[in-house]
Subunit: 426 residues, 2 copies
Amino acid sequence: MSGPAGATPHASSRAAVLDVIRAAGTISRVGLVKATGFTGATISTVVRRLIDDGLVVETGHAESTGGKRRVLLQLNLSSRYAVGVHLDHDGITYVLTDLGGSVVARMSRAGVGVEDPRAVVERMATESAALIEGAGVERSRVLGLGLVAPGPLNQAHGLRLLRPAIRHWGDFAMGPELERATGLPVVLDNDATAAALGEHWSGQAGGGAFAALYMGTGIGAGLMLGGVAYRGPSGNAGEIGHIPLAADGPECWCGARGCTEALAGPGAVVEAARADAVLARSAGLTGGGRGRRTADFAAVTRAAHRGDPGARALLERSARYLALAARTLANIVDLDELVLTGPGLAIAGSIYLPVVREELERSFFSRASHPVTVRLSRVAATAPAIGAAAMMLQSELVPLREGMRLPENLAAAAEPDPPARASTTP
Amino acid sequence: MSGPAGATPHASSRAAVLDVIRAAGTISRVGLVKATGFTGATISTVVRRLIDDGLVVETGHAESTGGKRRVLLQLNLSSRYAVGVHLDHDGITYVLTDLGGSVVARMSRAGVGVEDPRAVVERMATESAALIEGAGVERSRVLGLGLVAPGPLNQAHGLRLLRPAIRHWGDFAMGPELERATGLPVVLDNDATAAALGEHWSGQAGGGAFAALYMGTGIGAGLMLGGVAYRGPSGNAGEIGHIPLAADGPECWCGARGCTEALAGPGAVVEAARADAVLARSAGLTGGGRGRRTADFAAVTRAAHRGDPGARALLERSARYLALAARTLANIVDLDELVLTGPGLAIAGSIYLPVVREELERSFFSRASHPVTVRLSRVAATAPAIGAAAMMLQSELVPLREGMRLPENLAAAAEPDPPARASTTP
């Protein structure tokens, strides 16, 4: 990186400046000095480089406050794009976002079911290409693709989808295979962390201790601590779906007992509903197949909204366990903001919200110091896909953090002082 | 801070350099460049200031590796000291540490019992002065005093000791009162976070996701994420003593149900032991009073070690709940290292250790990715006091983090680019 000796800005300076510009919308160089704590010389150097790279543009002047009018800076939103893919058993959600994380195109396709992973990779490559082409975006402006799926991740093997439904994917090297098929750099993460990031980029989250409580096929949480995604050493932080809420509870697929997911997940709700002949009939459940679980969970929720007492009781029981998991999470990270998100809560959030709120108001340990704000996501169904795209944008905006897999061709971005990135298009 | 324009090192550079020197023992300037990622010019400026301030000294040369022999740097350990005070119902522990966090003097005194807080403040001032004088350390070299106690903290009122036993302390402004009485700057924190910091400074903890599971009067955890204490927005992170392990469990003093502490804390163990007439007699329990709880917990532990089946069963039941809390913590922060510490585990750790280990080996969600290393602390009884002193040293070494109360006279140290601190002695 150029710049006067002794003032060489680190990658983190560049990233921090870009992130402040993104969050602010428009901001002056003086504003950047105040917001980042960097010296004027550092800001000047970093901004010059960002303008040279086409990521930032000057855009008029701020109102005069007596002195020289200040030039305002903003992201050049259409300079870069990223694809976000949320892969789940019951559906694949795609988004294309601009450099600011705004969705410019989206689509949903069938889930992976029992498909062979190689076939899914080819399908994702075709569908991503269609998304980019349909939006009229030049491929050379697409930084890459973020792919998120239910955890746990395994760093050694890239994404490792160990859930029973897709356990036959075993150690399939998803990252490299998808890079080969799409010709794009790929980053991987779990869906809950991506959901938290998606909420953050959608302007829905503050900078304290924020969590996205995610309910999709399973239950998890994504954590943003001080505005930065916290993933943990192996990228598996936030696994509240597998904390024990009842020492002698039912066995979970993960091998432990009494997990939140086994007690309260959509699967547990649907199973109990199917076992109730009256409810199964009145709610119109399909009665079979893992692939129908999302549809049946939605049917139980509709029945509850119609006033079916059996459906209501099942969902409220689930909500009470989810509320205990939320209290646990809140006490451990000293949470001040929680958003309920993910496909399951896009459907049933209005039933879960008051139960979670009440538990935290009554039992959050530090309630005398501060409340935990709880709300429903406004992007619940697409937050993980938006977060997946944001992960890729962050490879430009923010140095990738510990616990996040880096494809070889992006590894330089995580070095303390990397060269400026070349175009990533092959 | 001096230095060429454009190369002004931030407080964080200074702190990072000092912390690397502390952790390394001895290191060259070139080593610092590698370890911190800063430029040679920045390291040179920062080191020159640290030497001028007397915090760092040059100490001989590294073995030649062909080129010029490198000058080694190390902390000037006796240049600064700090007092650490761990205040608990059953005892007050004092340590005096040097700049490297090594204990140069320690002492234990009676706990606060039902004493008036003003009397305790005066006593702590007298006892701290005796500790410093007894060690032959000049008061002008004492940076200040770190005080830790059971949470929750309340930022608005400084330390707020809300446990039933000392609830009559109410909103007593502990920080300012103690500063007045001792004439030293005071920083406050909770005991579990201080224990984690104490373990870290005692060279007992790595840089990933580390937690100190603390059992004193109550149960809590201190978190170090990436080598930095994580306190949360209100300083109350890690409260695993108040997570629900049984939805319909006993009521806890905190107002919630089924908390770890109510099910498994030393108080619950002692209460159950006292209710068992045979065990109470064989273990020689006092049978009364909160102030005797630590003594009675120790007596139950001795009985278990002698083979008393009733005592053994009570402690193993407690250990199983503690193990569930440990699994919860591990899943949420993706833990890779856990140390069992605090006075309760200094006494009974050998009974708890295998139970916690086994639970994490069997049920930690990310066990396919990495294990959680679990061990007993080697400084279990004094870790919180060491951590309390380290907090004060960090006001010199590391900018204080969010969620930590700052006395007025230290607030400058948390600014992005503060002036060098003057001597803190009044």
